[in-house]
């Protein structure tokens, strides 16, 4: 186990190491927690922070816009608006003042999903603050996924599980809505409860049942064993081969993998 943890740690090290400054043509200045840094113009906020010397032990995860770990707030020069973004998905801009919000404190009630009725009542039972919504729409404006967050909270208020589930489906739980809400609602937890309740009302699709059976019968275990027993070099070679076959990695990216030691998103 310690060996695996070391490998995970290694895999998560800064991806921007190895940038040759003399090859960078365009630079911008960003202010990370108030301190200015000159960084290459075409990198993401997350890469810029690493370039500036920050090392992420929290607030970074998939680096692909799916995990919601890298919520960031920023302002740009000359604009009063407080903007929000995922650090791994957003390019730096000149004059950007930014800080990451790696964690959102939130009350997360415990419930037994099987014990709750599959209707709107558990939403207000566990999250009565939903009724404090004044429809200001600030949550919607904060959402880096462009969800209609306020609309799903309003749907929760009227007990419409299907609407909450549909409108919140692409939520990655970054927490920015909850940090901006004047009514102190934790939208993403409300949405998750609604999706769980709504899921109970739907029939389990056959392909899911089939896949669960495959997993339980051990169909994929050999493949996992094979991957876990490979060396770093073998894994990198396999990754490049797979990417070439998929056509997802052009030769320039493939060479960057070699230079940086790993793939860059």
């Amino acid at each position: 186990m310690p060996e695996i943890m070391d490998r995970i740690k290694e895999a998560n090290r800064a991806v921007t190491t190895g940038i040759d400054d003399s090859a960078v043509k365009h630079w911008v200045t960003v202010y990370i927690m108030g301190k200015g840094y000159r960084v290459p113009a075409d990198i993401t906020i997350m890469q810029a922070m690493e370039y500036a010397g920050y090392r992420f032990v929290r607030g970074a995860g998939c680096r692909a816009g799916f995990c919601g770990a890298c919520a960031t707030v920023y302002r740009t020069a000359g604009d009063w608006r407080l903007k929000t973004a995922l650090a791994c998905q957003t390019r730096v801009e000149d004059g950007m003042f930014l800080v990451q919000i790696p964690f959102t404190p939130a009350e997360k009630p415990a419930y037994d999903i099987e014990e709750e009725p599959a209707d709107g009542t558990p939403l207000l039972k566990y999250f009565p603050e939903v009724a404090r919504c004044v429809a200001c729409n600030t949550c919607t404006k904060a959402c880096p996924q462009d969800l209609e967050v306020m609309d799903y909270i309003q749907a929760a208020l009227r007990g419409d599980l299907a609407a909450v589930a549909e409108l919140s489906f692409d939520c990655i739980q970054c927490g920015l809505c909850a940090m901006r809400c004047p009514a102190e609602i934790t939208h993403y937890h409300v949405a998750q409860l609604a999706r769980r309740l709504y899921g109970r009302t739907l029939p389990v699709p056959k392909h899911v049942l089939d896949r669960v059976e495959e997993i339980e019968s051990g169909k994929y275990e050999d493949e996992f064993e094979k991957l876990l027993s490979m060396s770093r070099e073998e894994l990198e070679e396999l990754y490049r081969k797979e990417q070439r076959e998929k056509g997802g990695l052009n030769s320039r990216d493939a060479s960057r993998v070699t230079r940086n030691g790993q793939g860059e998103r």
Partner: protein, 321 residues
């Protein structure tokens, strides 16, 4: 509104509705949260009744809570965002009127509409807060269904379409507060209203006058001080019964909740002392349920299942169901 301001999609939609024989008029309609949850029967019966009259209650494609309680703080513009946002949705459709059923939603939306309409500076501040969203330009009129029935459909036309006259049914019309007060948004005389009586008469029922018809049911005191709501409901229901009512008609899910809920509690406490006239439970119906019943709407669309006290034994006794 000028023709120029109507989006082409709204015009197409209007043309579509005009072409339809079944539905003559599509009315932008705001349901409110309670009508999607506790008070489904209110909406279901209203939709069915309006269809029978040749109107479609066209639910706004997007809406939020009305705000529930109209904010009296003059500097608390944040509380008006919810209602104003709903008026923006009406404006988005190229419409200028919004129909409501719930008396509370009516009151909050109508008052907010007046509040921002009366002062350009307030409206400007709200629009500035909404920033890159569409500005509310003002001018959306909020109407309650009872007003529409009285002023546009007319009670004469309704009477002509009655298929099942509610002959001899003694109904106490209960207005509560929100339809009548404050006077600026009241749909009728706040001291001596008559619109529900006129509707009930058109349906063939016998409206029962009683002094508490425009008094408060206790409203949200039911949460923090239920004894207040219990006392109010006791007076209202007793007065209606002594006046001979067999049913009470309302236009408010909160009034209905209080009249049903506290009536039960009262029954439980007073059974030992009750006189025969106060012993039985009195069903609380939405006025739209009686309207739909009289217009010949089938029983399954009347929404009786959601009521605490089933009116069907009484209605079946009168051969109405």
């Amino acid at each position: 509104m000028s023709d120029k301001a109507v989006p082409s999609s709204a015009k197409a939609s209007a043309a579509h509705h005009n072409a339809s024989r079944v539905t003559r008029h599509a009315l932008p309609y705001f349901p409110g949260c309670a009508l999607k949850d506790q008070a489904r029967g209110f909406e279901d019966s209203a939709r069915a009744a309006m269809a029978a009259l040749g109107y479609e209650l066209a639910e706004l494609p997007r809406w939020n809570c009305c705000g529930t309680v109209y904010s009296l703080a003059t500097d608390d513009l944040m509380r008006h965002l919810g209602p104003v946002r709903n008026l923006v949705r009406v404006q988005d459709l190229g419409e200028t009127r919004l129909v409501t059923l719930c008396a509370m939603c009516y009151n909050t939306l109508a008052r907010s509409s007046r509040f921002v309409g009366a002062d350009p500076e307030r409206l400007e501040r709200i629009n500035a807060f909404m920033d890159d969203e569409a500005d509310y330009r003002g001018g959306v009129e909020v109407v309650h269904l009872l007003e529409l029935l009285r002023d546009e459909v007319t009670f004469e036309a309704i009477e002509a379409k009655v298929e099942r006259p509610l002959d001899g049914l003694k109904v106490a019309p209960y207005y509560g507060c929100m339809l009548l007060r404050p006077r600026e948004v009241g749909i009728d005389d706040p001291d001596s209203p008559g619109v529900l009586e006129a509707l009930l008469s058109a349906l063939g029922a016998e409206p029962v006058d009683f002094p508490q018809k425009a008094e408060c049911c206790g409203a949200y005191q039911t949460v923090s001080s239920p004894e207040i709501a219990r006392a109010r409901v006791g007076e209202i229901v007793s007065a209606a019964r002594w006046a001979g009512a067999e049913l009470i008609a309302t236009s408010c899910p909160l009034c209905t909740y209080n009249l049903e809920h506290h009536q039960v509690e009262r029954e439980e406490r007073e059974t030992r002392h009750a006189s025969p006239v106060t012993r039985h439970e009195i069903p609380i119906l939405y006025f739209t349920q009686l309207l739909a019943l009289a217009l010949g709407v089938s029983e399954d669309k009347l929404g009786f299942a959601g009521l605490k006290f089933d009116p069907r034994p009484l209605l079946s006794d009168r051969e109405l169901v």
